[in-house]
Symmetry: C2
């Protein structure tokens, strides 16, 4: 077998991470450029292409790179475009991302998808879902993202936007307002921001003592630290968050009957507090035939590399 | 092109319908045998095979039949088995249906799936979903069944049992008890039996006049007739049913982003009362990017032929 390589790019609002990756998922070299200094797409693409070329040269993989995989907010796999991505300064209009980058890279093929789908491909190629043909990747970060794999392929749907499981209804009535304009969305409860929101709401609703009361602002990390110290309110917040997640997971199981649900992202670090309530609620809400059968597992990708690995994995399919 | 044919078999609790079908979806010949007179699988398979052979002879398609497709409760596409099917007298244990039938048919290949998946394949092959690669078929009958098509293929999931959308949570708290042992399942509200249940509940809860009060027992058909006569309570029952369906459909859209949702089954005949509330609730509950974009359509298969056509369509893939 030829030893070939791929490039993975994780486009974030502030920075874009670039890595050269081998078939075993080792990041040979990586670098970072700013995203947020560019108001227009053209100069951003020019610098990105330069940085990729330099990294390829420096890692000694010239002529051996098969393609470039990109994970970006609202990246559309079918069209290679980024649309309506409020966190990207140049992302307000439709941007022909794959085409522009491929041209700037002398025709090297480019595949694009959103961050959560990229994470799913990464987990399937190098991580906890290796060998699995049917699983659902849930990313618990600022929001809740998802990448659904059926028969070994990411589900993109009719228009390329499938897998928005952060916006299913976790709570049907009087649910929390979501950034998307709806109410009760899963991500308003089960994301890092959702956990912090639960903490603020619950502190307001009772006088129960908690170390969280002493903080000016509360982030999910604070709730996690408090739970580790045995804070009862913080522990109940994770129990509640797990229950909300598990109930929704049960509905996802009814849809695609996955072998596993794979959790990833900052909030997934709280697995010691989340696993039990998630599994309990999931098993209480699935049909008997699935009870105790769907695995709940956690990403095995090193968090600092995961975004690059996920994006890079796309390029193997080019 | 050779003119080839397929056989479709719809296995129901009382009867099994058999048809010989051509590539355009014309049922050339059909017949029926009893299912419920057999307590054991072997004599049932023997009679079924006899009936199929006779039908093939009579329709002049001997030697031109490519395979047999079977739709049956709890039919598993992967294993060719029927398991835990309470409505089939011989279905309480695991039955190697495909293997037994194929042997009895001198090795003719047999494909098996559940009724709702068969309906989805039928709609894709001969009906309203022709040419569609991504759609969700919802069957509104005694229960609520579903067949999910992604990238032109039915989703069977890890174990062959995917697509149980009748058992997602339509109501999270204090929901109706479902036959599956859970509460709040979509099918407790949005099936034919669910509609009748809504009628009985609502009649009990108020003194509002309604023609339904004069009936000893209420079936969904009665509610439909009452709605056609302008009965206000009956009209509100369909509005409520449509809302419940539309809200759940919105979550399905977030999962697989289908081009359309296709409705089928007895209750789908009430489309004049269901379409508006379903579309309203669906559009209120999807992300803005899907608003007004997902089609709601109704099966185009003749109801008397639909089950045979759906099952037969499976055999084209053999």
């Amino acid at each position: 077998m030829d030893s070939t390589y791929v490039v993975g790019i994780d486009v974030g609002g502030q920075t874009s991470k670039i890595g050269v990756v081998d078939a075993r998922g080792t990041v040979l070299a990586q670098t970072v450029i700013r995203t947020d200094t560019y108001a227009e797409i053209e100069p951003y693409i020019a610098e990105l292409a330069e940085a990729v070329k330099k990294l390829i040269r420096e890692s000694g993989t010239e002529g051996k790179v098969r393609g470039v995989g990109v994970g970006a907010p609202n990246g559309n796999y079918y069209t290679g475009t980024i649309e309506n991505a409020p966190n990207l300064r140049w992302g307000h209009h439709k941007v022909e991302f794959s085409k522009l980058l491929s041209e700037a890279m002398d025709g090297l093929p480019v595949a694009l998808t959103n961050d959560a789908n990229a994470a799913a491909v990464g987990e399937m190629t190098y991580g906890a879902a290796r060998g699995m043909k049917n699983f659902i990747m849930i990313t618990l970060g600022t929001g809740v993202g998802s990448g659904i794999v059926i028969n070994g392929e990411v589900v993109y749907g009719h228009d390329g936007f499938a897998g928005e499981l952060g916006h299913v209804a976790a709570v049907r009535n009087n649910g929390r307002t979501c950034g998307c304009g709806k109410t009760g969305c899963l991500e308003t409860y089960a994301s890092a921001t959702g956990v912090a929101r639960t903490a603020r709401e619950w502190l307001e609703l009772s006088d129960e003592p908690s170390v969280l009361r002493s903080l000016d602002t509360i982030a999910s990390k604070d709730v996690y630290e408090a739970a580790k110290d045995g804070d009862k309110l913080a522990l109940r917040i994770f129990e509640f968050t797990g229950k909300i997640l598990g109930r929704s997971f049960a509905d996802f199981v009814a849809f695609s009957s996955p072998e596993a649900i794979v959790l990833f992202g900052g909030l997934a670090r709280a697995k010691e507090f989340l696993t039990e309530p998630i599994e309990k609620a999931m098993n209480e809400n699935v049909l008997p035939l699935w009870r105790g059968k769907v695995k709940l597992i956690y990403s095995q990708l090193k968090e600092s590399d995961a975004a690059i690995l996920g994006a890079s994995a796309l390029a193997w399919e080019l």
